[in-house]
Symmetry: D2
Subunit: 383 residues, 4 copies
């Protein structure tokens, strides 16, 4: 129990430390629907503890502010009305200071709740753990959303000395034999419902690359006309790059002859040795096609993972985000967590520089629509 | 070879016989993007033979009309510019008669091509077969597009005495054991690239329903408030039904107390015993959730198919449309056939009353976006 | 009364003669919202007589078909539900033949109604006259809509030997003195409510061109970069040409070096001496600005009209479409005719080659949104 | 000259004092395209002095920041690229403090420029005057934009003790005789180009109301079903209220039985005696129609103005925003000020509680699209 309380406290503090380099102004805006204002993340992660724990499990708990319930709900239909997602950036109030006060209030109340138990009962421990995991997911979003907000500003402001770089020098491929493999989560700690049940899958023989595709390799694809040749692309990917006039990864800028890319340390000259990032599934898939290879399936990735160095970038797989055999949604609003997104999204495996430690495990299934690329996403090849 | 020529001739005639009951006016319109004008289907299926066979393989072949190449191309990027898909219904010319003349010209030229060989060489036979298969796919679309055109007209015109009804009385479920199963096409006749390579998959134990969900059963879902309760729906499905104010399958109309549905024989009183049809994946999935069950995966379906009566309706599976291990696109424009659609679509298995005979096989993979429902689509449950 | 009946008969026949050169296919489509299918015009003009005359004034009149009331209503809110305007082209039924039968029925019934009177009572004569005027307006739309349908087809089909050409050789300007002028309709025949009340306006001194701007003159504007220089354009006009990539009048096509334009006689080489046509208000205004002049006001036009040759093209004025002092809407649905459009539209004066004789008078006020150009619209300069 | 410098200083200070009650967060957001972030107004008004005066007329002037030129340009095509208007709210940087530093820098530079002259030469005086007028216009927008930002927040925050209320008790109408009237600006001080040339207009006899329509009177219109009856509405107005589900003026909220409205002092109970405000042209026009009257023309208003109490609310007229006879755009970018908006907008006369003193004159022509209502707009009747 002490560990959980400690983890709670550290997680909450870490979220705030991620915002420390921000201007007040940076907390407020939402340049595109999928990028939420940092102050919304701060409020929403607190709302989660209030809504799913304090209201139900702390006697005499007094709601902090009825309006916050409306403002900081994300997509939980079962919990009531909410600000439409693309309008989060229309709200200048509550101000940043008020949101921090809200966090303090929640932390104080949680602390009191913890103090009422010698040992946290299981049903509460599970919820607290989920709230921590939830906040950690938002920590990753906070970083990528901050990067979007600053990286789409013509002044290209520096966030701080946050390193996004990663190089794997290992060339070559791992060979895997055909056979039945066990996939899914089998441990005793926290996992999401989408990692269950663990189950067997049959895989044919395959090879998977030891390293991720580098900026330099991706540049070859660009320079060979990859964005101009439909044959490498899914039909919807081809429409997407033409409609949005996409000709390079997100954050890349060509300044005369030289390519630069925006990083959280500011605009920098592109280093060809680093792994390419901010890639959509469409681009990852087109690159693989151009190379005469393919993306791995999520179970191939999982089966081979012990032989791979990973954790630098989320890696697109060619697997759609679907339930495992025996998948069960949790009861009530908590059950809205994952299952309802299981259509039209692709699975990513691994983790990124923005991923909190607790979110790195071989069974972890991240998922995004195939055109999203503001996350730290990269490419590993298979064949 | 005689068989192939005979099949060619019969397929071409059958396409025209499907249009026989139409008014000239019905040939022209395109009420929504995915429903093409019947005269476009007539032209496009001929264009396919012209573009992929006659131009390359018949010496001295004279293009029928340069403009037709532009007008009747569908989505083949490799073959040149084309009329934007949603503008097919903006073209009153070429007139219906001209399109039939185009068909005649192509048939005449194909006949001459055939007459030049005692035995059709393999590379040609393969293309002719593909052209026939392609035209058969459009025969199915012709029926569903005609149904859309007539069924969305306030006069609800009758097409002809085309029977859409099907009843399976078998109650209960088939039990399947866990194990490795072989899936994919293993025969010697035609199949699409998306059915290859045949491969092994591991399946856990499951049960699959002997019959499809009936109108009466689906009505219970409606009447119990299924369209008003978010918890049964994918997040995108919920948005979709609310945005389009969907509260019943396509073609259903409530007239005071009674439900009617439009069929190709006109508007008819709903028969609760018939299998429900014109269902989106979202609705199929929500129904299954409401029943406490799920949709089968495509390999579960294939593994169990020999124990099932099927062929009445396309059956939504909970499998995304993805390539099989070892999938290879054909060279050139023909290769644009299937692979580029392998994202954001769900697999349907089985066949429907509108499916030509040659398109019914257990390895056949149909696929649509999850919101489409103008095809004859239904629901089989699994658990 | 005989005159009115004769006029009725001739008007009705003329409408049908305009459609004589069409294919059945041409009657059905609606490539853009503002272009209605020809069969809709045929039905709607008949519906007008049925709805405003036969139903109320012919004893025992039997509605032809309830559905037609729904299908052929245009925008009369007071008369009931109707097919949404941009979906007129989604209806293949009623077929063209049925629509002609509907016309016959209405004509027969009108004839019987006429036969019941020696002299048509005033209230009926007024309505019949309005119905005739209404149908004449649709005759003009029929021509321009047919031109749109054929002229946006890649085959550029010929309609018939319809002459659109007009040349005025008179150079120079008419000088008008300052003073109070009488404007508005003062005769005893039919006029629309928007031409009343006649009233006095004060005009300063001005000059107005004897001729309209020619193709050749307009080409100079294009070639001098007029479409690339924002300073000639209204802000909304500039957005409009950039969004729609407009660089020439509607129906102009550059084939290598030479300009062609689509006419109802097919695609033709551009004649620089002819008056330019199919011009939006934005383009007319930008041209005038480029010339260092301006468009005339509608009262300037009216005041000078007796000195001008006009009738070849609708001429954009720089006057917004607003009510005259003392303007009164008619009672009931007929009152929806003009008044409710008096915002965001600009007045055009004159007439065009497509205008029926009865619609040419100096007080006539045509009006369109400033971006419309599928009518025969041209430019007269003032200063 | 001393007056102009004093006026410059006071205007600049007043702008900042309007922002004094804001949170940093309030400076940043742009909930709808037409509402700019307050910090954008602060920057843009400074940019105006920099771009049109300092760069050209102060020797050795050093541009403050190249990026600011891009960020704070509004719509001046002639001056270069700019941030797309609806994306002003996507920029968290430059921060509020930086924008105030920019203002300081500009003020310092302007002060130095002033100090170089004993008497400001005419061409400079004219530009300084224009810059002041421009900033005053933005002062009004600042207030209405702040009201929008706070008034659309679910917390309904208070701005400060800013009084929006106004009551005129004078009942009855003023009668005006027919005749020629002089309109337009005839003084020697500043006026906009759109107020010139002064000219004669002929007006028929009319009556114009002494007071504006009150909340109570407007409530009668609502309660009698005015928003549900198409016959009072322009066709485009009717579409607009249905599409946006508009049933009351902006900022009105019904709480059970009682109507409240948001004011800059917070949410308040509706006072039926106050003049109604935040009304679109469509609503003003529908109200007048319902009353059996009409809106005045802009020249009627101007002719009668000496008999009226006005200045509380901008009053919609039924006049389109068009150039006066002899209208001339200024040379260069300054000429983009007014003329290019002269289409699709309606004229408002008078002034509002948010209008700076220098902007109240009888010849002043305000203009907005007919659906805008976040300005202080009201209704005066005529007949």
């Amino acid at each position: 129990m002490i560990d959980l309380i400690k983890q709670y406290t550290e997680t909450r503090k870490h979220t705030e430390s991620l915002c420390a380099p921000l201007f007040i102004e940076d907390y407020v805006i939402q340049p595109v629907e999928e990028v939420s204002p940092p102050k919304w993340h701060l409020g929403h992660t607190s709302w989660f503890f209030e809504t799913f724990i304090l209201i139900h499990h702390k006697k005499g708990y007094k709601l902090y502010d009825e309006n916050f319930d409306f403002i900081f709900n994300s997509y939980y239909e079962g919990v009531g009305e909410r600000v439409v997602r693309h309008k989060r950036g229309d709200l200048s109030r509550p101000g940043v200071q008020s949101v921090y006060q809200y966090r303090e209030y929640i932390d104080q109340e949680m602390k009191e709740l913890f103090s009422q138990y010698k040992t946290l009962p299981d049903h509460l421990a599970i919820l607290v753990d989920l709230g921590i995991q939830h906040e950690q997911q938002h920590q990753e979003l906070l970083i990528t959303d901050i990067k979007f907000i600053l990286g789409h500003n013509p002044l290209f402001p520096v966030y701080e000395n946050f390193t996004e770089d990663w190089i794997i020098k290992d060339d070559g491929f791992i060979s895997m034999k055909e056979g039945n493999y066990e996939v899914g989560y089998t441990g005793n700690s926290f996992c999401f419902d989408n990692e269950l049940e663990p189950h067997k899958v049959f895989l044919g023989p395959f090879e998977i690359s030891k390293k991720l595709v580098s900026n330099g390799e991706y540049l070859e694809f660009i320079e060979s006309g990859g964005y101009q040749d439909f044959q490498y692309w899914h039909s919807e990917g081809w429409s997407w790059i033409r409609q949005h006039q996409i000709e390079a990864p997100m954050y890349w800028h060509k300044d005369g002859k030289h390519w630069h890319h925006y990083t959280l340390q500011g605009l920098q000259r592109l280093d060809p040795d680093l792994s390419v990032k901010h890639i959509s599934f469409y681009e990852a898939s087109a690159y693989a096609e151009w190379k005469g290879m393919r993306l791995p399936g999520e179970f191939e990735w999982e089966a081979a993972s012990s032989h791979l160095r990973w954790g630098e970038r989320w890696e697109w797989t060619n697997s759609a985000y679907l339930p495992y055999p025996g998948f069960k949604k949790a009861e009530g609003a908590i059950g809205e967590y994952n299952g309802k997104f299981m259509v039209n999204q692709m699975v990513l495996r691994g983790a990124s520089v923005a991923t909190p430690a607790g979110h790195s495990r071989v069974s972890y299934r991240n998922f995004w629509h195939p055109h999203f690329r503001w996350q730290y996403t990269g490419i590993r090849l298979a064949r």
